[in-house]
């Protein structure tokens, strides 16, 4: 048990902090084009994806340094990166499974935010059961012809490329017949429509693919290996970046609330005080669970089902805190910029997206505790 930071980590952090102080000296807004400009500024300092190889704009940083990077950006309240899906999802996939040509072509432009990427995985009929996806890619000569419908696509409207999962072998076992592609979002047949969520915002899109033609080199990795290819990085940088960013978002929300309590702008009842204290505890524990993630990865261990424990810890912390914020703040003085109750509504999706609570519990009970799978319907 040793959680002390090494000198190298401190140097890395201090250099990053100095860069961020300078880069954030001027006020930055949070619209998409500002996020793109911010990503370019980071790219210029080689601070956009430090764990990537230097040849693609990174610093060959360790996973511990990458964790420091994510935390420091949040701590500095830096804007989001415009191309975060490209960096977190397409990046690891291409680095691991892309051809040399694909890597050269896409990775630098992902890092520089010249190309924006989105993810085309979920479908209306394939939510918890992603292996049930039905979007099909059919080989016509050497051209892939893709038809189907995708949902829950972030940056659908802004994207130049989409990382696509489609069924290429209709007769194979459900998770074996899937392949992973680069989909040109400007190609004919790609139709992106905004998807409005319960919060009233349209932060996602539905993407309709109608006989979209993709060239042979759109395929990433082996044909039929799309399940493994598309999930690359889920248990490493994505397994670190997402929870750390979410932890930071919750910490900011909690800090806002505590600040209001200190200034008597929120006067919680005794029960609400206990709720807030539980939020403090939950965030503290989430931080420790995330530390443990980094520790495991830096020791070279697979995360495996640990990710389900992180997911459940996060979703409980998020929903509890968002509910607290709603219940403690009056209608005239919301903490959320989006209005009172906005976080409470938004975090309903924490127990749904990325594997529902129920799916995580199934994974833990079967794969971590070794309890029997349920019987299949006869």
């Amino acid at each position: 048990m040793d959680l002390a930071r090494s000198d190298a980590q401190r140097v890395f952090r201090d250099e990053l902090r100095a860069f961020l102080v300078a880069a954030l000296a001027t006020e930055v807004t949070d619209d998409f084009e500002s996020q793109r400009a911010w990503q370019r500024a980071l790219y210029a300092g080689r601070w956009v994806a430090p764990h990537w190889p230097a040849r693609y704009g990174g610093r060959d940083a360790s996973i511990e340094q990458f964790a420091i990077f994510v935390e420091e950006l949040a701590r500095a309240r830096a804007p989001q990166l415009a191309n975060r899906v490209g960096l977190q999802t397409a990046g690891p996939v291409l680095l691991t499974h892309g051809s040399d040509d694909q890597r050269e072509r896409y990775l630098p432009r992902i890092a520089s935010a010249d190309d924006i990427w989105c993810q085309l995985y979920s479908e209306p009929g394939a939510g918890s059961d992603l292996t049930a996806l039905r979007t099909a890619a059919r080989l016509d000569g050497d051209t892939w012809r893709v038809s189907g419908q995708k949902v829950w696509t972030s940056f659908g409207a802004e994207s130049d490329f989409g990382l696509l999962l489609a069924r290429t072998e209709p007769d194979a076992a459900p998770h074996r017949g899937i392949s992973c592609f680069v989909c040109d979002m400007h190609a004919p047949g790609v139709d992106v429509r905004p998807l409005r969520t319960m919060t009233g915002e349209s932060e996602f899109a539905e993407v309709f693919l109608d006989d979209v033609a993709l060239p042979p080199d759109a395929l990433i990795g082996e044909r039929g290996a799309g399940w493994e290819v598309g999930n690359t990085g889920l248990a490493s940088e994505r397994g670190v970046a997402f929870p750390l960013k979410e932890q930071a978002a919750l910490q900011i929300l909690l800090d806002e609330l505590l600040d209001r309590v200190r200034r008597d702008r929120v006067v919680p009842s005794p029960i609400q005080r206990d709720r807030i204290a539980q939020d403090i505890v939950n965030l503290h524990v989430l931080r420790l669970m995330n530390l443990k993630t980094v520790s495991q990865l830096s020791a070279g261990a697979e995360l495996g089902t640990w990710s389900s424990l992180i997911k459940l810890t996060w979703e409980e912390a998020a929903q509890h805190l968002a509910d607290t914020v709603f219940e403690t703040t009056g209608p005239t003085d919301p903490i959320d910029e989006a209005g009172r109750g906005a976080a409470m509504l938004r975090y309903r999706m924490a127990s749904i997206a990325g594997g529902t609570t129920q799916i995580q519990r199934n994974i833990l009970s079967e794969r971590r505790l070794g309890l029997p799978r349920e019987p299949r319907r006869t």
Binding site: G127, A132, M344, R348, A353, T356, E374
Partner: protein
């Protein structure tokens, strides 16, 4: 003894349910969300003519039907089930109850017949900004006419109301005042409320002319008004919870994942069972409070708080679970799940949070000797 609807009450339920599905289905309500009132005044008039909703609890002497609180509850439950934004709660229940309890005969005779005929709409303004419900800060003063000053929040349907009944300090205690639409010094702002199907307003008065409707009210008279409001919201939440439960169960039967209906997984089944339990507990608590409101009025202070806290907790839990069972589709704007969740969350905080009602119950039952025989 009958703990459940009588044949008459069941017939009323069916006709209200039929009216709601024919005249104000949720698809229509969605189209009115951005409209000026949130509902269609023509439908409200039809509800008055065809079902007598506006006149229900008004005594026959004022042109009403003299129906019981249970009957009003039957209506509120159906309007909750349909998230129907008609001004029934505001005008036909709360304002009417306030007039019957706190106005003198003359003013009852002035206002109640026009409310019964659905010719006019009223609402009550009782909750002061940043004060508990019964600590009335809004004041009414003046020699010839009376001028009302102060700010009220959570006023239902204030924009639609022809007359706002304001509970204000008369100098000799709180009393009821009528302020007409468009009176000078009155400002009505829509609250940025989570609930999209029940509009709430912040109404401020600055030397606004008001008509005194009766003598200063007793503390218990005012408290009873809040008890009635809590009971009304409680049964509304029962309808909300029942609708969410049925949406969830229906979806769980048809949505398939892993080649099975999700409703065949115990995780979903048991969540639905828990939703059912919460809903049934809420229903028992709300109907009991409604019955007590008429038959055992001394018990209302306790029964209404039990009902409001139980139904609020249930409606929030059940509508939240409904979102969860629907998964991604339940998180979309187009799906109705969030409208129910928003309604439940909003109603839970109106006229006191569940916690505040429990706190009051605790104080009542631990101060001095027990006032009620807990054995019933």
């Amino acid at each position: 003894m009958q703990f459940g609807l009588s044949d008459d009450e069941e017939a009323l339920r069916e006709s209200v349910a039929g009216f709601v599905s024919a005249q104000c289905p949720l698809a229509t309500t969605r189209q009115l969300l951005d409209g000026p009132l949130g509902y269609d005044p023509a439908v409200w008039r039809r509800a008055g003519n065809e079902l007598g909703l506006a006149a229900m609890i008004i005594p026959e002497s004022y042109g009403g039907f003299g129906a019981s609180p249970v009957a009003a509850g039957v209506v509120l439950r159906e309007l909750g089930r349909g998230l129907t934004p008609l001004p029934y709660l505001s005008s036909a229940v709360l304002a009417t109850t306030a007039l019957l309890a706190l106005a003198d005969d003359e003013h009852q005779g002035d206002l109640l017949p026009s409310l019964a005929a659905a010719e006019r709409l009223a609402t009550i303004a009782i909750i002061d900004e940043d004060r508990p419900a019964l600590a009335i800060a809004t004041s009414a003063a003046g020699r010839s006419g009376v001028a009302v000053s102060g700010t009220k929040v959570s006023v239902l349907d204030a924009e639609a109301a022809d007359v706002i009944l304001v509970v204000a300090d008369s100098g000799a205690g709180p009393a009821l005042y009528a302020v007409d639409r468009g009176s000078p010094g009155m400002r009505i702002e829509r609250e940025n409320s989570l609930d999209l199907t029940r509009r709430q307003f912040r109404v401020s008065f600055n030397e606004t002319p008001g008509r005194p409707l009766g003598p200063a009210a007793s503390a218990s008279g005012l408290a009873r008004l809040v008890d009635v409001a809590c009971t009304a919201l409680a049964i509304d939440q029962v309808g909300v919870a029942e609708a969410a439960l049925h949406m969830a169960v229906d979806y769980a039967k048809v949505r398939e994942q892993f080649a099975r209906p999700i409703g065949s997984f115990q995780a979903v089944k048991h969540l639905c069972a828990e939703m059912l339990l919460q809903t049934e507990r809420a229903s028992a608590a709300a109907f009991y409070a409604l019955w007590v409101a008429e038959s055992e009025p001394d018990e209302l202070a306790i029964a209404s708080r039990v009902a409001k806290s139980t139904c609020s907790d249930a409606a929030v839990a059940v509508t939240s679970a409904n979102v969860q069972i629907h998964g991604g589709i339940g998180y979309t704007w187009e799906h109705d799940a969030h409208l129910y969740y928003r309604r439940a969350r909003g109603a839970a905080l109106m006229f006191g949070s569940p916690e505040s009602h429990r706190s009051a119950l605790y104080e009542r039952l631990t101060s001095a000797a027990p006032q009620e025989d807990p054995w019933g």
